[in-house]
């Protein structure tokens, strides 16, 4: 299975869509949002706040890109090829999920490094470690949703769904604009989204607060839901015709 993960990670790193959408764009957006027209204390705040949001946005994009690739793999005959080598199907899925968990790391680390080195963000070591770990572990529900899309839909549908889900997660979940700017009804909706919960756990740590239990439970709920969807999608696609 390690060989499979290595191959899939290599493929992802060579994918221009991944490099641009899953790394270059979030890092660039981070540097733009924190340096254009923001001054003084606002700038220090923004450097930290937007760091978490853009790392989360990039990680969600990378996780979706990974799962959506399954639809492409299917049309390329790659899933069929995997079924005729001695690799248990469950290992293929687990390997693909593990790949998702690895390919979210560059953008999380990249945005964090940009924050520390270019924007002068300073935190305690435990805060840095907690934030990176939370952003990393918290990306699992999105990896699973990406797998579900990839298994359930054809290439084009899967990529449209990926973009739609990525954008709505980013906008409604308050990754691009803080939810404080939302009308109250939208803010209420936002707080139930997986992307809000995902980023909020790290934001709380960044600003020295304890992550909310309710937020953690909401995200766990999404994890279970997307996990069930991914298993369903996998089972359906793996059905022998």
């Amino acid at each position: 299975m390690l060989g499979y993960i290595r191959l899939e990670v290599t493929r992802t790193l060579r994918d221009p869509a991944y490099v641009i959408m899953g790394f270059a764009m979030p890092v660039t957006m981070y540097l733009l949002f924190t340096n254009l027209g923001v001054t003084g204390d606002d700038r220090v705040m923004a450097a930290l706040y937007v760091m978490v949001n853009m790392a989360a946005f990039g990680a969600i994009g990378s996780a979706f890109n990974n799962g959506g690739g399954i639809a492409e793999d299917r049309s390329a005959g790659w899933l069929r090829q995997l079924r005729i080598v001695p690799l248990a199907p469950v290992r293929v899925v687990a390997g693909k999920a593990a790949t998702g968990m690895l390919v979210v790391l560059p953008v999380i680390i990249g945005v964090s490094l940009a924050a520390a080195l270019l924007n002068g963000v300073r935190m305690e070591a435990w805060q840095w470690i907690s934030i990176v770990l939370l952003l990393w572990a918290g990306s699992l529900p999105f990896t699973l949703l990406g797998l579900a899309f990839g298994y359930l839909f054809s290439g084009q549908t899967a990529s449209v769904l990926n973009i739609a889900a990525n954008m709505s997660m980013a906008i409604i979940g308050g990754l691009w604009l803080p939810t404080e700017a939302f009308p109250s009804w939208l803010r209420a909706v936002a707080e139930w989204t997986p992307s809000f919960g995902y980023a909020d756990l790290s934001r709380k740590v960044a600003f020295g607060e304890a992550p909310g239990v309710a937020t953690a439970l909401t995200l766990t709920g999404w994890l279970v839901a997307f996990g069930i969807l991914a298993v369903y999608g996998y089972r359906r696609s793996g059905r022998v015709g």
């Binding site: 499979y4 493929r11 790659w78 079924r83 005729i84 080598v85 022998v240």
Partner: protein, 328 residues
């Protein structure tokens, strides 16, 4: 009915439908280990479906599929069964070495990677990405993937369709070396010459059934009919009794005799004083297929959807009966 565990392949009364189409229709086939068998048939005959069933990629509607006495999934899992698909499987953004190396790594006792690359003629292409391979090169990579785990049975679905003449010969040289190590090979093809030259045994399938099963010599005897034609009139029936003749037909003022022994037929015509504007045309491959597909039509049971049955005493079916194992 039991499947023999000693056989590399054992299909028992296997049926596979896609909607109303019976792609495989009551197929039974046993292949002892060590044989090189050609699955010969026109497009749509059920060759790829049969291979899909043997790989467990398709589930049979009825009947049993066994590979080395086990399910196809287990045969793959244990590394004994591998296949070369007709197309696809070469995932983009990987190099030849990465992909073959990965597949090789999933087997317990694979062949050395360099040996696999050399056998498939890929030494100079190890660093090349899949998306930059030509059709023939891609086919060699598929071959390398099938070979990598040193399986006991290899299934090849139209392996040489994308290859030029030279690459085709090189490919079969590699397969011969593989077979010489006691391995079993089942390949599908619609080239009669290929089946003739490389297979110990030829299984002709048409519309999901076995139309003929035997050595290539037997199959050729069955299908390699020359055509002798002379200017003639009257009835065809007496001509059918001439030596070698399997069927006769009179059209456009000429008698067209399909014969297994053109010499004997011509001698008989000469003896009868019937040689007028004689022409002898050797068997064409298309004729071979037509002859074989006619055979299955002749033996098809009458049914509302099937073609109208022809008299079973027809000349072609009479000559074929001894050689043909017809599955009904």
């Amino acid at each position: 009915m039991t499947n023999d565990a000693n056989d590399a392949v054992s299909l028992r009364d296997v049926t596979k439908r896609f909607g109303a189409v019976r792609a495989v229709d009551g197929l039974s086939l046993d292949i002892p280990a060590g044989q090189t068998v050609a699955l010969l048939g026109p497009n749509g005959a059920g060759k790829s479906t049969t291979i899909g069933l043997l790989l467990g990629l398709l589930a049979p509607g009825s009947g049993t599929v066994r590979v080395f006495g086990d399910s196809p999934e287990n045969a793959i899992r244990s590394g004994r069964l591998a296949a070369m698909p007709q197309e696809g499987g070469l995932v983009p953004r990987t190099t030849v070495r990465e992909l073959v190396g990965f597949v090789s790594g999933t087997y317990r006792s694979p062949l050395p990677l360099e040996e696999v690359l050399a056998t498939a003629g890929l030494e100079g292409l190890a660093g090349r990405r899949m998306e930059r391979l030509s059709g023939g090169q891609a086919q060699r990579v598929r071959f390398a993937l099938a070979l990598a785990g040193d399986p006991d049975l290899i299934l090849l679905d139209e392996p040489t369709a994308a290859l030029d003449v030279r690459a085709r010969r090189e490919f079969w040289e590699s397969m011969r070396a593989f077979a010489a190590r006691g391995k079993t090979i089942l390949f599908s093809t619609h080239y009669l010459e290929e089946a003739d030259e490389y297979a110990d045994r030829v299984v002709v399938i048409d519309r999901g059934r076995i139309a003929a099963d035997g050595t290539s010599r037997e199959i050729k005897r069955l299908v390699a009919l020359s055509t002798v034609s002379v200017t003639a009139a009257g009835h065809a029936a007496p001509l059918e009794r001439l030596p070698g003749v399997v069927s006769a037909e009179i059209r456009g003022g000429r008698a067209h005799l399909r014969t297994r022994d053109a010499d004997a037929t011509v001698m008989a015509l000469a003896a009868a004083g019937a040689v007028r504007d004689i022409e002898v045309v050797p068997a064409a491959l298309e004729d071979a297929f037509i002859a074989l597909t006619e055979l299955t039509e002749l033996t098809e049971p009458a049914g509302p959807a099937g073609p109208a049955p022809r008299p079973a005493s027809g000349p072609v079916s009479g000559s074929a009966a001894a050689l043909t194992e017809v599955e009904v």
